[in-house]
Subunit: 345 residues, 2 copies
């Protein structure tokens, strides 16, 4: 059986069965955004995660500057710490370089890394460089410290919780489309005033550390996941980890007007980008509604202040037996995990 | 300027200048076997390192079983924790897989990883899988905890210290030569009774955790480095980090009789393998000689018991102005770092 037949998630599941999900000093092993670790010394908890990006799959070297690439590879890792409500601290960076690559390219990539690292209080403390003959590969391992009040897992959602998301969904997929269809958009008179925000969402996402930390502090957020594969995929991850179902209200998804405009010109469906495009690196989370709508409104206001971006209610958790469904134009359909899979074409 | 012109070490030096070698909670950043980190919570110190291995460079898929490869990629990472005198705890594993790869291959690789991980008390707590179209790439990030008594750095050697090494040097290079020249060795009547130990030294090295921990405990070891690039390279690393020179006595190098036998048949120089072959993953270290030869003999006996392998004096530290030299047959020549460089041919 080929890896391409069972896909990325099927593979991870099989490998996790071999090494297990626990262990000495392991609070949470394989299966969340980051591992939660408990050193023998001290009472703190560490967070650890890694993410590899490969030229031609995660990015195209012609479409991204080295500085942007440095930002991007670190941002997607910091995002995993955000999804745990933690504080990012240290990163290890492995570069697999083609031998003809310019030293200046690697230096510019590191300048992009360093700039974002400084913004988020991360130190680059090591790594490895080696030859990757055919294409650039960048792997980052990130270490963080958990919030003293705890961590955000995928597994705490309960029926009745609200489903929310930070920022916008679909902007990253729209940005990628802008890069790929530049000429077509030019011809339609769609310029940088429309596309630049979207392109930035794809190339240089901003990890939601402030939001994640607020979610731990407020004590009302019951589960969190960052949107890497796609909203549909992550909604199903929370559903599975928590043992609940979901209703996702299509009309409530925070899709930017620019995303709709670009989709219109290119004949694409902005809802598809929002649900399956992925790489928004926003936080998808569930909220215990507490004492009614005023409490929810208060939470949203406080969350928006902490995060510096809008926060939107997009659905609700239901019993697992009711499944994960999209409610759209009065119709209800299954919302299947349909995000990007590295091993399927 | 191409990366291939300045080489791996020139590149690392330039990148380290961009991101710096310090930072908040960074006791030791880029420039040793592992980073030494100080979490805000608790009084412990963490060790972190990573190492990527690429098919066709670090190994050849036709020459290594998946289980052996799993062992190898983890062993070279655990070795970095050994060189710091630490305890390995957790690992993240990133697989870049060709899409036609069999699920069974990945599972067997993970079984090899898991077996070694269990032996050394390491939990595999996460990772990433993605597509690497042309060749298999495995990157491991390892986390450890420092010994309560401190860490072993490269920078503590002083003139008058003795230079020692655990186990044998050159066995790994000899093992690689055995794999490459199997037919020639068969014709010369050199069989597995000679080659199997060497091949194992190359394919499935044993990290020297017990030795490293003993070095911290005894308080007499002033610097340590693990032999990845080659004895000549690592001797120069300690020399540079400590601000000393070295005399390395060629006749004292612990080269296995099997290595000499294979080198003889293949017309190779076993001393070259011992100095430049690399990937022995033994610990090279300096010892404060203390109160004379009896103290050194006592140390060696205790170290061999702790490590379960022989420990050999191979040279001495001298003032930096006297350089790093090889003493061989009464002659003294410069011992230049000449280990493997991923970016030079």
């Amino acid at each position: 059986m080929k890896v391409s037949e069972i896909g990325e998630f099927g593979l991870i599941d099989r490998l996790a069965r071999i090494v297990g999900r626990g262990g000495d000093g392991v609070v949470k092993g394989i299966g969340d955004d980051a591992a939660v670790l408990e050193p023998a010394v001290g009472g703190g908890r560490l967070l650890a995660s890694c993410d590899m990006q490969v030229d031609g799959y995660h990015f195209e070297l012609e479409q991204i500057t080295p500085e942007q690439l440095g930002h991007r590879v670190l941002a997607v890792n910091i995002s995993d710490i955000a999804a745990m409500g933690g504080r990012p601290r240290w990163a290890l960076v492995t570069l697999g370089l083609t031998p003809d690559i310019e030293v200046e390219f690697a230096e510019r990539l590191y300048r992009g890394l360093h700039k974002l690292a400084e913004e988020f209080g991360v130190s680059i403390v090591g790594g490895d460089t080696c030859r990757s003959p055919e294409r650039l590969v960048v792997d980052v391992a990130i270490l963080g410290e958990a919030h003293a009040k705890g961590v955000l897992l995928r597994s705490g959602a309960r029926p009745g919780d609200l489903l929310l998301v930070t920022g916008e969904v679909g902007s990253s997929a729209a940005g990628l489309a802008c890069l790929r269809a530049q000429e077509e958009l030019d011809r339609a008179g769609i310029g940088p005033e429309t596309t630049s925000r979207l392109v930035s969402a794809f190339l240089t996402p901003i990890p939601r550390i402030g939001a994640g930390r607020f979610f731990v502090e407020c004590g009302l957020v019951t589960s969190t996941d960052d949107i890497s594969d796609g909203l549909a995929s992550e909604t199903n991850e929370i559903a599975q980890a928590s043992g609940v179902g979901f209703r996702v209200w299509a009309e409530h998804l925070p899709v930017a007007p620019e995303t709709k405009e670009v989709a219109g010109v290119l004949g694409e469906d902005p809802l598809r980008w929002a649900l399956y495009g992925g790489e928004d690196f926003e936080l998808l989370f569930t909220l215990r509604p507490g004492s009614g709508s005023q409490a929810v409104e208060d939470f949203i206001q406080a969350a928006e202040e902490a995060a510096g971006i809008p926060v939107t209610v997009i659905g609700e958790a239901v019993p697992a037996s009711e499944g994960v469904k999209l409610v759209h134009g009065g119709e209800m359909t299954d919302l299947r995990p349909g995000g990007y899979d590295h091993f399927r074409d």
